[in-house]
């Protein structure tokens, strides 16, 4: 790193990554975008940004594969290399924040996969000390669920949920990655009580799903990009473990606030109590 580099340390899910840049404007963007997730703790990983890339946006698919010991992350608007042995990497992009978010999400998905966690295309929120996940295809109601949440519910994300294993189950952490709500989650965490796959209907109803169906739906919604058999095997094992430990249900809901009564009742009846999780576990 050169002497002119400035660093913003961003901690999501208890994993701290130093983002270094020589560009003052980009540094300000980092501070604004990840406000609430900035950390003064010693970073585990480091990404150095070179902002000379020309392409600003891209509809290309992400490609993530190994190049020797390094991971190579590529899309039309960015190219990044990250060495898991040193924890360091370099990113070539321009100052587009969407590229930045994508690179961070991919890096977290790689780190989490090794540690038995994952990123899930789901909204999540804390209610009465436990977290609830709401997953489903686009339009199923993830953002709607967060909009309908009562005042005592803490939003973790309306788009990308961050999950890590704990001794007795899993914990969900807040992320700065926002969806339609355009509002980052709170930087806190709670043990996961349940994962609901959303469907909108004329009534509020919770139905059981088989373990196999749970894994099938879970795998379809996990954010994972790496073309790597060992990591995919690990991820599949994690998905099976998650489904064995966390109740997976289908939540058919009519979009008004009463759906949260259903969620609270489920938690009380299912006795989801798990040990507390510190915010920066």
């Amino acid at each position: 790193m050169t002497g002119t580099q400035k660093v913003a340390c961003v901690e999501i899910g208890g994993i701290s990554i130093a983002l270094s840049t020589g560009d003052e404007g980009f540094l300000r963007l980092l501070h604004q975008r990840y406000d609430g997730f900035l950390s003064s703790s010693q970073p585990e990983f480091e990404l150095e940004f070179d902002l000379t890339a020309k392409q600003t946006v891209s509809d290309d698919d992400v490609r993530v594969n190994r190049d020797g010991h390094e991971w190579l992350l590529q899309r039309g608007d960015f190219q990044a290399r990250w060495d898991p042995r040193t924890g360091r990497g370099k990113v070539h992009q321009n100052s587009n924040p969407y590229s930045l978010d994508s690179v961070l999400r991919i890096l977290h998905s790689l780190i989490l996969a090794q540690r038995g966690g994952f990123l899930l295309h789901a909204a999540s929120a804390i209610c009465e000390g436990q977290s609830f996940l709401f997953s489903g295809v686009s339009g199923a109601g993830k953002t709607t669920m967060t909009r309908l949440a009562p005042a005592d519910v803490t939003l973790l994300t309306d788009e990308i949920s961050y999950l890590r294993p704990r001794a007795d189950g899993y914990a969900a952490f807040g992320t700065p990655f926002a969806g339609e709500l355009a509002r980052p989650g709170e930087n806190c965490a709670a043990p996961v009580c349940a994962l609901f796959f959303l469907e909108q209907g004329q009534e509020n109803r919770i139905d059981e799903l088989s373990q196999a169906e749970g894994v099938r739906r879970l795998m379809r919604n996990i954010l994972f990009f790496a073309e790597d058999r060992a990591l995919v095997e690990k991820l599949l094992a994690t998905a099976c473990d998650f489904v064995a430990k966390v109740p997976i249900r289908r939540l058919t809901f009519y979009p008004d606030t009463r759906v949260w009564d259903e969620v609270r009742n489920f938690a009380r009846n299912f006795n989801c109590e798990l040990p507390g999780v510190p915010a920066n576990a």
Binding site: A212, R216, M219, A226, E227, V232, L235, L236, C240
Partner: protein, 102 residues
Amino acid sequence: MPEGSIYITRSSAIAARALAGEMMVMNSANSTFFTLNEVATAIFQAADGRTPLQQIVRDTICEQFDVDPEQALTDAEQFVAELSSHGILLVSSEPLSAEASR
């Protein structure tokens, strides 16, 4: 080698795990995910690259499940063609190694 035999083996790029009687299969090359029913799972598990598909159907499928042999072979060939198109199974007219690179 019986004439017209086809041999099947699992791709080395996949991860698989059995759960509640179903096989979950994911292709690490393109992240496609499949769940196989009991019959498909039996074929998938028997795909050792050395046993002809006809023999797998006769000795495994028809033995374990109450199915018409001719229909079972037709269904097995369709299933193999589909998984082959997704890079899950590899198909050859000659014996293959137990797990082959795509």
